[in-house]
């Protein structure tokens, strides 16, 4: 027996940050379990789900579109509906938008370039499940690597989401044409976060930044709380 909460990391064909996510979660006190996309159930006692970065199904049709209807996503939908914490990173964010678990959609970067660099994001709301280890206004250095990371919604929706505290992370400058410089959004219930930057690549200061650990450690906390509440 272990008191480490199980965090399911869903692997789609073309995912490539699944192992990094699992490593980071393990380093932060979780018991990461890789779940293949055609599984119809999540592991018993799953406390949180991570949809990792990558190029699921070769980005066919639209980034994340095919993955959004994979069998494992039905299980993720049920888990999210029960209040379970779900984090989508990069391609995982695209999948959550395509699955309509998060508002908006991700479009090709304004400059049509694949971006691979460290980005600075500001914590707009420290009240969310995922940002509660951060300070409001805190700036985090997190790597980005994406070609289609420009978040789009209509202006009215952005205002509404911001008023409700659902826009949790914004780039400090216009990185990719994302509306309102949005980098991360939570759902209305507050238990699903999608973000383009990669917290799992920023948990060890040796690699330049450990700021991602703040977000992932909060996810591990949330996983432990979910397991406790479900018991």
């Amino acid at each position: 027996m272990t008191d480490r909460p199980v965090v399911a990391v869903v692997q789609f064909p073309g995912s490539n940050d699944d192992r990094d996510a699992a490593w980071a979660l393990g380093a932060l006190g979780a018991d990461p379990v890789l779940v293949w996309h055609d599984e119809e159930e999540l592991p018993a006692a799953t406390g949180a789900v991570v949809l990792p970065g990558g190029f699921s199904y070769g980005d066919y049709l639209r980034c994340g579109a095919i993955a959004s209807v994979a069998p494992a996503m039905d299980a993720v939908r049920r888990f999210a509906a029960s209040g379970g914490p779900v984090l989508g990173i990069c391609n995982g964010f695209q999948i959550l938008c395509e699955a309509r678990l998060l508002p908006g959609a991700l479009r090709p970067n304004r400059q049509l370039e694949f971006l691979c660099e460290d980005a600075v994001v500001r914590v707009e709301s420290a009240d969310s499940l995922f940002t509660r280890r951060c300070l409001p206004g805190q700036e985090l250095v997190l790597p980005v690597k994406h070609g289609e990371g420009a978040w789009h919604a209509d202006e009215g929706q952005l205002v509404q989401l911001a008023a409700r505290g659902q826009i949790v992370l914004r780039y400090t400058d216009d990185l990719n044409g994302s509306l309102g410089n949005v980098a991360g959004v939570v759902n209305e219930a507050g238990n699903v976060l999608g973000l383009m930057p990669h917290p799992e690549h920023a948990v060890d200061p040796l690699l330049g930044s450990a700021d991602g650990g703040l977000l992932l450690a909060a996810l591990v906390d949330a996983a432990a709380e979910y397991v406790l509440a479900a018991a």
Partner: protein
């Protein structure tokens, strides 16, 4: 029955791909205005008549083929 689905970026949605194609066309000497890039999806399906076929394809569009937030669709049906 065969359906051809034309998916386009909605009006007002930024289309960097279209802008890149526009830039290249101009470089080749073509005097072009706006260029937008979409996609074509051909689907073969069984359906009793055009109306039920259209209903099916509309559902395919809203569930997978297009993202209604950013894309518009036109559906053409061909008996075959």
């Amino acid at each position: 029955m065969r359906a051809t689905v034309l998916v386009r970026p909605k009006d007002g949605i930024l289309d960097p791909q279209g802008e890149a194609v526009q830039g290249s066309l101009r470089k080749l000497g073509f005097d072009v205005g706006s260029v937008r890039v979409g996609r074509v999806i051909d689907v073969e399906l069984e359906a009793a008549d055009q109306r039920t076929a259209r209903e099916q394809v509309e559902r395919m569009c809203s569930e997978l083929l297009a993202n209604p937030l950013i894309e518009s669709v036109d559906i053409e049906l061909l008996d075959s």
